[in-house]
């Protein structure tokens, strides 16, 4: 009996950590193919490239914990990027979106942008709570609308759908300035948000209530928790986070166009699920979102690093998603 248990344990341990093991195997593999991969800069690269994705994933997590989702997440990134960029151009830049716009302190465009996406989140929340719509479909409709609006704004004269450039230094500095010449400020911001979210979810009543509502809305209601308030709050927070991600995209790329953020929600959702967040709500840790995002960035980074063609990356990505989630399910199944 005992010996059996021990045997079980060994390969269970292996399986439970299969993801990590696979990851290390890949790292070794890549280093063998190209020793240059073995350098500190690779780490900082991966961190930097994860920052924005991480913020999106955390955002989406707020909706997933409720058993919801936001298919408009990516399009909100795009809208935020275009709106923010259009308001944060250098006054000296030759072809400005708003030619007569005075020189605004950078905080203004940021706040306007966040306010705008917050409204979108509010509408999503209302559709889901007051009109009892399935989040999947409500936010899909929203995605279409948001994108349309973004296109119309982007096509506004005199911009005529030309990419927006000439972004203020006060914004782009976020991506260029590196702490100790190493860690980009964006990484710091992302991790700050991560820690804060961890705190909210685990150390505040609001956070616990999110899990309770996600776990069983009916029971939550009977327990005197306002499902409506919690849901709306989560969708607003999520929108603000993805909106902020959009702003960082502008800082990062020094420009914006209406196709920014396309399908970001899917990578975000997938990262969360890979990290053990349940799509049916009530289950999930921020650490999970982090791991998920890291794995993703690592894969696409690593494979580009050794110059593997993106089509293969797609295939591998698919395989990794499926296997890792399957492994994760296994754990739950055991319980």
């Amino acid at each position: 009996m005992n010996s059996i248990n021990r045997k079980k344990k060994l390969n269970e341990v292996l399986l439970d950590n299969a993801l990590i093991i696979a990851l290390f195997a890949m790292i070794i593999g890549i280093i063998i193919i190209d020793p240059a991969f073995f350098q500190w800069r690779v780490v900082t690269d991966i961190l930097t490239q994860s920052a924005v994705k991480l913020i999106c994933a955390i955002g989406l997590m707020f909706t997933l914990l409720l058993g919801g989702t936001d298919l408009a997440g990516g399009r909100q990134v795009g809208l935020a990027a275009v709106v923010c960029a259009s308001l944060a151009q250098d006054v000296t830049y030759s072809n400005r979106f708003w030619p007569n716009l005075p020189n605004l302190p950078i905080i203004v465009p940021i706040l306007i942008t966040l306010g705008l996406v917050a409204c979108i989140g509010l509408i999503n929340g209302l559709m889901i709570t007051k009109l009892h719509m399935a989040p999947f479909i409500a936010t899909y409709g929203m995605a279409s609308a948001v994108y349309g609006i973004n296109q119309l704004y982007f096509a506004k004269k005199p911009n005529n759908s030309q990419p927006i450039g000439g972004i203020k230094n006060s914004l782009t500095v976020l991506s260029r300035f590196k702490i100790g010449g190493q860690i980009s400020i964006m990484v710091v911001i992302a991790f700050a948000i991560l820690l804060f979210t961890w705190f909210v979810l685990n150390k505040t009543t609001f956070g616990r209530n999110i899990y309770i509502v996600g776990g069983n809305a009916e029971a939550a209601k009977v327990s005197g928790i306002s499902v409506t308030k919690i849901t709306i709050a989560c969708f607003v927070i999520e929108s603000i986070l993805v909106g902020f991600a959009g702003i960082l995209e502008v800082a990062r790329t020094g420009g914006a166009n209406s196709s920014y953020g396309n399908a970001y929600e899917f990578d975000a959702i997938t990262s969360c699920v890979i990290g053990g967040v349940s799509l049916s709500g009530g289950i999930g840790k921020v650490s999970g979102a982090l791991i998920g995002v890291m794995i993703f960035t690592f894969i696409s980074y690593g494979l580009s690093f050794i110059g593997l063609n993106s089509n293969w990356q797609l295939v591998i990505k698919g395989v990794i998603i499926c296997t890792s989630v399957a492994l994760d399910m296994r754990k739950n199944a055991k319980k």
Partner: protein, 507 residues
């Protein structure tokens, strides 16, 4: 031909953290009712799930008519002539009763489903059982009690040689239980074996031929019902003596009226109307009645879960409005709902979270709602041990607890809320005698602290044994109010059935 229809030998089943079954034995003769009893968490359901192919035992063998069998899915169990009524009822919500009953074995003309035929057979089935529900009713709209009726009808309709009934009467009233027993006797006479799980020991004494007792996943003993008494059963189950089923009633009811319910009328015309009653400080008011008496509707409306067309609540002399549960809780109400699964537990969350659900804000001890787990752990540990909930730890997901223990956790939840008017809808449903006694003690303790309790119960002994007064309802109307001390089961029944005949016809 083997003397046993079924033999389960040395069945062992472990779940992470729990050894649910440890070398358990069960032998059932043809044409007998075999009761399987034990405390909450003893392993009864798990054992039956192994038999029905829902779980795979780690070790041990199952024999039917002397032949060893492997059962890896309900499908195979059914093929082997085993059918089962689940403890946790799970209907197909959007489908009518007909489809719920014949799911998996539809009648067909050629390849085309024969709905007409199934409808006929269903009507026959239901009338045999004297359940008057229209077969076309959508399962999702049925009451727990009605659902249980359907589940029974279904289990019976398979003509199987072994029928497992896991707490079939947990939400039936005595009348319905009587119908069920008629059926069971018929099935017996047809030579079928029934495995009967229940915490209602009177029932066991009435219907069972043999019993097997389990405790903490172990086989304790098997005996013929003739050689045993209720008290014998009890201490076999709990492993100690229990003088009384109900703690003594010190009659601490105060004069002061805590809650007045005036002219309560549901928006749903088929539901309750013109309900008037009051509860005193320190009083336990029982609400009795048959299925569909609308007791649940009534109490859920008082708690603000359902809209009312008319009526008002007066608490300690001043009118209050329970617009929604949040308000109700603010106004000092607590509500243990009838449907544990649907509106009670939060399955994947820990016992800790499930216990704290109502009280995080209240107990965290600061305005912003920052949580200090150590601080809260004290409260949780206290209630959980008071009701001695069987759980590996308070971090265990509640879905891994046995039915009864889940119920206890929910009671813990409301104990922490520390409200002064508690509404308990079938509070001891599926709870073992030992635990019941603890819950009764707690109810008494609460009333002795001057709290008032409104208890919906379909268990006559409980209703009479623990209440101070009993209000009886019939089809949404208030038909009687009795002093429990003087009340008899007959009285309650007669009020509960007043005018039911006439209205039956009118349906």
């Amino acid at each position: 031909m083997d003397e046993y229809r079924l033999r389960m030998i040395d069945i062992t089943k472990t779940f992470p953290g729990v050894k649910a079954l440890d070398k358990v034995q069960l032998s059932v003769r043809p044409g007998t009712v075999h009761a399987l009893i034990g405390e909450n968490g003893a392993g009864k359901s798990t054992l039956m799930k192994c038999l029905y192919g829902l779980y795979r035992q780690d070790s041990g063998t199952i024999e039917i008519d002397g032949k060893q069998v492997e059962i890896s899915s309900p499908n195979e169990a059914l093929k082997l002539g085993i059918s089962m009524i689940q403890q946790e009822l799970a209907p197909i919500p959007y489908m009518n009763i007909v489809n719920n009953i014949w799911a998996g074995r539809m009648e067909k003309k050629g390849i085309i489903i024969d709905d007409a035929l199934m409808l006929k057979k269903t009507q026959k089935l239901l009338s045999e059982l004297e359940f008057n529900i229209s077969p076309k009713t959508i399962a999702g709209t049925l009451s727990v009690s009605q659902l249980q009726a359907v589940e029974i009808a279904k289990a019976v309709s398979y003509d199987s040689k072994i029928i497992v009934m896991d707490e079939p009467t947990s939400s039936l009233t005595d009348a319905e239980t009587e119908h069920l027993f008629k059926i069971i006797k018929r099935l017996k006479s047809e030579g079928r074996s029934i495995i009967y799980i229940s915490h209602k020991l009177e029932e066991i004494m009435e219907i069972a031929d043999e019993i097997t007792v389990m405790r903490d996943g172990h086989y304790v003993m098997k005996s013929s019902i003739r050689d045993i008494t209720i008290d014998g059963l009890i201490n076999l189950m709990v492993g100690r003596k229990m003088e009384d089923r109900f703690p003594p009633n010190e009659h601490i009811v105060k004069e002061e009226i805590s809650l007045e319910v005036q002219n309560f009328t549901s928006v749903n015309p088929k539901s309750f109307r013109n309900i008037n009653f009051s509860v005193r400080k320190g009083e336990i008011l029982g609400i009795g009645g048959l299925v569909g008496a609308q007791r649940t509707e009534l109490v859920e409306s008082i708690f603000g879960l359902r809209p009312i067309a008319d009526g008002k609540l007066v608490k300690y002399g001043k009118e209050i409005h329970n617009a929604n549960p949040k308000e109700a809780i603010k106004n000092g109400f607590a509500m243990l709902t009838e449907e544990r699964r649907a509106t009670g537990i939060i399955p994947m969350l820990s016992v800790f979270d499930n216990t704290m659900a109502v009280s995080y804000k209240k107990l965290c001890g600061n305005k912003i709602g920052l949580i200090d787990n150590k601080r809260l752990q004290k409260y949780v540990d206290q209630v959980v041990s008071n009701l001695n909930v069987k759980t590996p730890s308070t971090k265990t997901p509640i879905e891994n607890l046995s039915g009864g223990n889940q119920q206890k956790v929910l009671i813990c939840r409301w104990l922490l809320a520390n409200s002064d008017i508690l509404i308990l809808d079938e509070p001891t449903r599926g709870i073992d005698v030992g635990a019941k006694y603890e819950i009764y003690k707690i109810m008494r303790k609460l009333t002795s602290e001057g709290k008032s309790i409104i208890m919906v119960s379909s268990e006559m002994p409980e209703l009479i044994g623990i209440s101070d007064r009993i209000m009886v309802m019939c089809e949404g109307r208030q038909t009687g109010m009795l002093e429990a001390s003087a009340a008899t089961q007959e009285q309650v029944m007669s009020f509960a059935t007043t005018s039911s005949k006439t209205s039956r016809k009118s349906r």
